[in-house]
């Protein structure tokens, strides 16, 4: 077999070209990511240390005798009380009612906020009309809405829902508006050139690109909803609808401070847990997009 390289330069070049490009790819991509167990511990220990310091300081204040122990009990009686309550059905019923209100209010707020955000982001007139109002509404303390809400809806679920919505909807809408505003114009141009326009452009390019900001808006919306909800439950107590806020108020009136602080810890824990869910969603989004996450 005669070796005639010149007669098939195309073939030789083709395979060489493929090998070259594959070789370069192999060289370009570095090694894999570091193990995760280490990262979990690195994230966990500062939190555990902070918790220990907080509990320790609380105990020191109690031991110092600054207030009578029936006004400010120490961490031990409070956690013992919390332990008792955790096995009682009343407590879980209250958690259930409060959480249901929170989740329902948040879901409605998220839906309204998304629609409102997209409308304001798209319409120059709407933006001029209510853009700054949406930001302004966030500065309004939610508790200031309750007198009006009670007049409009009496002491009812609707009064609480009203205040949740008015607190959370602007946050969600703001997240959407900011997200849409900061979508790189290059991606929009690319999307248009690939055949997207109008609603499909929103669905396939603008909203996915704005997702990190939308999730931040939702997270903030939840925080506003949760705060408004607890404020509402302190003011608006509805018969046969026990809730965390209502128990909090009752325990103060009855002077049951261990229970009161135990409830506060429960409320804080729920808030932190939901926040952690949002943070993990945010972290996942950033990781998938290759935006560095620290900590």
């Amino acid at each position: 077999m005669a070796l005639d390289l010149d007669s098939q330069p195309g073939v030789a070049r083709g395979t060489l070209q493929e090998n070259e490009i594959r070789g370069l790819d192999a060289l370009d991509l570095g090694s894999s990511a570091p193990p995760r167990a280490h990262a979990v511990w690195r994230a966990a220990w500062p939190k555990l240390a902070a918790l220990a310091i907080a509990l320790g300081s609380w105990q020191i204040v109690v031991v110092s005798g600054w207030r009578e122990s029936y006004v400010l009990p120490g961490p031990v009686p409070v956690f013992v009380e919390l332990g008792h309550r955790l096995v009682v059905q009343d407590f879980w019923e209250a958690v259930g009612i409060t959480m249901t209100r929170g989740v329902v209010g948040f879901v409605i707020a998220a839906a309204l906020g998304l629609v409102l955000g997209v409308l304001v982001a798209r319409s120059r007139i709407l933006r001029a009309a209510i853009g700054s109002l949406i930001t302004g509404l966030q500065t309004m303390p939610s508790i200031a809405w309750f007198p009006l809400a009670i007049l409009l809806f009496q002491l009812s679920e609707q009064a609480i829902l009203f205040v949740i919505l008015i607190g959370a909807v602007p946050s969600v809408a703001n997240g959407v508006i900011n997200g849409v505003d900061y979508v790189p114009s290059l991606l929009v141009r690319a999307g248009r050139n690939l055949g997207a326009s109008g609603l499909t452009l929103y669905r396939h390019v603008v909203l996915p690109a704005a997702l990190p900001s939308i999730v931040s808006g939702l997270k903030q919306g939840w925080a506003f909803a949760w705060r408004s909800l607890l404020a509402g439950e302190l003011l608006v107590s509805i018969a046969n609808r026990p809730s965390l806020g209502q128990y909090l108020n009752q325990s103060r009136e009855l002077g049951d401070t261990s229970y009161m602080i135990a409830l506060m810890i429960a409320i804080l824990t729920i808030g932190i847990a939901v926040d952690a869910v949002f943070s993990s969603i945010e972290g996942g989004i950033r990781r998938r997009r290759g935006v560095a996450v620290s900590g």
Partner: protein
């Protein structure tokens, strides 16, 4: 056979049987707003179907404006732009969607065209194979190197099934080695698929390496100064003597253009 010939611009023969891929006729683009900059001034250009046309010029020659007009992303102030079929754009920055895998990025134009999930994924994989990236289909853009991202972008552009490709300095940000390999890749793809390419670059060597014809544009406003037919055989290499000779000639003309602005 490595001789380069050059010809100064003459009206292109319109009697050819094939309908031209792109025709620009006395296209002028003036931007409204800050002082009404005249970006393009009376550009007439005909691109043959299957031609690889490269456009070179210094800053401010309106190269990108020209591509925007051809793609339909922008409208000319006067004159007409005619494209036979669709023109797909490829940018200097890959412009991949960071939330989608390479495969889903490539499948996006198919999805927008209403192709079903199974079909579009199979087709997208074929397009990725064309740029030798089928093995990386499920990686996200940030997990790929710069050159690989540009190849995914090429695959995504191919997936639009547009007969005309507009490329705005697509390899400008890559290292020389990767760029050389991508020249080879692009050249094979262009030949195999019979595409028409309008390729903008400020790198004269690159323009000669890739183009059937190189169009030199002046700056502020952009006008066609000269056209050069590149007749050396393909596949070429950027180191080829013929490429270097013609590139030298074009660079001299380009420098003269730039010097006019300093006088």
């Amino acid at each position: 056979m490595t001789t380069a010939t050059s010809t100064i611009v003459q009206p292109v023969d319109r009697s050819s049987v094939d309908r031209p891929a792109v025709v620009l006729e006395r296209v002028t683009k003036r931007y409204t707003g800050n002082n009404g900059i005249l970006a393009l001034d009376g550009i007439s250009l005909t691109v043959r179907p299957g031609e690889f046309l490269t456009l070179v010029g210094a800053s401010g020659c309106g190269k990108s404006t020209l591509l925007n007009l051809v793609s339909g992303l922008d409208q000319p102030t006067s004159g007409s732009v005619e494209v036979n079929g669709r023109a797909a754009f490829m940018f200097q920055d890959h412009a991949l969607f960071p939330w989608l895998s390479a495969l889903d990025n490539v499948a996006t134009p198919l999805r927008l065209a209403g192709v079903g999930k199974k079909d579009r994924e199979a087709q997208a994989l074929d397009y990725l194979e064309a740029v030798h990236l089928a093995d990386f289909a499920h990686r996200r853009p940030h997990e790929l190197s710069g050159g690989m991202k540009q190849r995914v972008a090429i695959a995504r552009t191919l997936a639009t099934r547009a007969p005309v490709l507009l490329m705005d300095e697509p390899f400008g940000a890559l290292d020389a080695m990767t760029r050389d390999l991508l020249h080879d890749e692009l050249e094979s793809i262009w030949r195999e698929r019979n595409l028409t390419v309008l390729f903008v670059t400020h790198n004269v060597r690159e323009a000669v390496r890739l183009g059937d014809r190189v169009v030199l544009l002046s700056s502020r406003p952009g006008r066609v100064v000269a056209e050069y037919e590149v007749s050396s055989d393909r596949p070429r290499r950027i180191e080829d003597r013929a490429v270097a000779v013609l590139a030298g000639e074009i660079t001299d003309a380009l420098r003269k253009e730039v010097a006019r602005h300093g006088a």
